[in-house]
Symmetry: C2
Subunit: 212 residues, 2 copies
DNA sequence: AGGAGCTGTTTGACCGGTCAGTTAGACTTG
DNA sequence: CAAGTCTAACTGACCGGTCAAACAGCTCCT
C-alpha cells in the first residue's frame, strides 16, 4: 500500500506527494476545520488532482488521521527539544512553556486542529488511539520534569503523574481560552506569561497545603 | 418574527416547538458533532418535519447558535447555583467543582458541544460573541470566589482576574483530557477529585511563591 | 349557528449544489 | 511492456434551503 519507506534510489527532493498533501491539508484543516475542507481544495492547494489524494490515502478519514499524526508528532518533538535546554527545574518549566507558546500563528494552527482531534477522539475509535498516544507522550515529559523538580526540592507533590495531568490542564486550558479571543494575535504574549505564572504557582507550593 | 413571548392566553404546556427542537439538537449535536447531524435527523428526533426547523430557525447556523446559547446559559446557571451554597472559600471552591462535575453523561454532552463552540468561535464571528459572553460570565463568578477567598486570607494572589483565568484553565483542561479517555464514565470521579486538588493547590499557596 | 376569511403553523416534495469515492485511461520510467 | 503515478470526468448520495399547499384556530359577518 505504501510504495516505499526509506531505501529509495532517487530520493527525489520535492517529490513526496504524501507530505505535500499532508502539509496542505494541515494548513487548510486548521484554517477552516476538517469538515469544511474538501479533498478538491486540498489537492488544489498542493497543486495536484483530487484523485491522487485518494490514491495515497484511501479515504478522507485516513488523510485526516495522517495529518493529525504528523502535527502531533511534530509538536511532541518541539516540546521535547524545548525541554532539553535549561538546567534548573524552574528554568525547565519556563523554557518548556516558552517552547510551547512559540508563536501565535503556529499555536493557533496546531490547537485548532487539536480541538478537532479531541472532538473526533471522543466519538470515533480510530482517533482515540492517536489521542491517547499523544496524551501519554506529553504527560510523560511533564511528569519527568516534575519528578526531577521534586527530587531537587524545588517542587512539592507526591504524585508526578497527577502533577503532569494538572500541568497539562493548565497549559491546554489557557490555550483553549486564548483560541477564542477575537484579538488572539495581540494577546499571545499575555497568555504565555499568565500560563507560566499559573504553572509555577501550582508547582512551587508548600508541601502540606493541598486540602482534604 | 417571533410569534409571541410571554402574554399568551393558552400557554399550552408541551407546545413550544422551538425548545423541543433545541433539546433534540442538543442531544444529537453532542453525540455526533454539529456537522454530522442533518436537519432531517433533528426534526425526526423531535417528531416534526424538517421544514419546521427552517421555519423557526431560518438557517442551520441559527439553530446551532440557539442550541449553544441554551446549553451555555443552563450551565452558567448551574455553576452559579452550585456556588451559592457553602460558606468558607475552600468549601465554595469544592462545592463549585462538585457542581460542575455533576455527572458523566451531562458533562460529556456539554463539553463536547463546548468544544464545537470553541472551534466555531475561533473561526466564525457569530460564535465569537457567544463564547465571549460565556467566558466573562463564568470568569466573573470564579473571580468573585477568589477575591472573597483572598479577602478572608484563605487564598493568596493579587490579581483575581488572572486567578479566575487560571482556575478556569485547570477545570477546562481536566475536562479536555477526560473527554478523550476511552472509559470516561468510570474515570469521572477521579478527574473530579484531581481537578479539586489541583484547584486548591493552585489557590492556597504561600503569598510570595510565584517566580519571576 | 355557520360559513368566510385571516393568520400562524406544519408538512412533504423538490431543487441546486457539494463532495467522497470510482473508473478508465494517459503519462512516465525502467 | 509493466509497474507506478497521475488526471479528469463521472456517479451516487446527502443536505440545506425553498415552496406550494394543507391545516388549525380565531374573529367577524350574516
Amino acid at each position: 500500500m505504501v510504495p516505499r519507506a526509506a531505501g529509495e534510489v532517487r530520493a527525489n527532493v520535492a517529490s513526496d506527494r504524501r507530505v505535500d498533501l499532508i502539509r496542505a491539508a494541515y494548513r487548510l484543516f486548521s484554517e477552516k476545520g476538517v469538515h469544511r475542507i474538501s479533498l478538491d481544495e486540498i489537492a488544489a492547494a498542493a497543486g495536484l488532482s483530487k484523485g491522487l489524494v485518494l490514491y495515497y490515502f484511501k479515504t478522507k478519514e485516513n488523510l485526516v488521521l495522517a495529518t493529525m499524526r504528523w502535527a502531533v508528532d511534530g509538536t511532541a518533538e518541539r516540546v521535547r527539544q524545548a525541554m532539553a535546554m535549561a538546567g534548573t527545574p524552574n528554568g525547565k518549566v519556563v523554557a518548556m512553556i516558552d517552547g510551547i507558546w512559540s508563536g501565535a500563528e503556529t499555536n493557533r494552527r496546531f490547537y485548532l486542529l487539536y480541538l478537532d482531534l479531541a472532538g473526533h477522539a471522543a466519538r470515533l475509535k480510530h482517533f482515540t488511539e492517536l489521542s491517547a498516544t499523544f496524551h501519554s507522550v506529553v504527560n510523560a515529559l511533564y511528569a519527568e520534569v516534575i519528578a526531577q523538580g521534586v527530587a531537587e526540592g524545588a517542587f512539592a507533590g507526591d504524585d508526578p503523574e497527577e502533577g503532569a495531568s494538572a500541568l497539562r490542564a493548565i497549559i491546554d486550558g489557557f490555550f483553549l481560552q486564548w483560541l477564542q479571543e477575537a484579538d488572539w494575535e495581540r494577546l499571545h504574549p499575555w497568555y504565555r506569561e499568565a500560563c507560566k505564572r499559573a504553572a509555577l504557582t501550582y508547582l512551587t507550593r508548600v508541601p502540606g497545603s493541598p486540602a482534604p
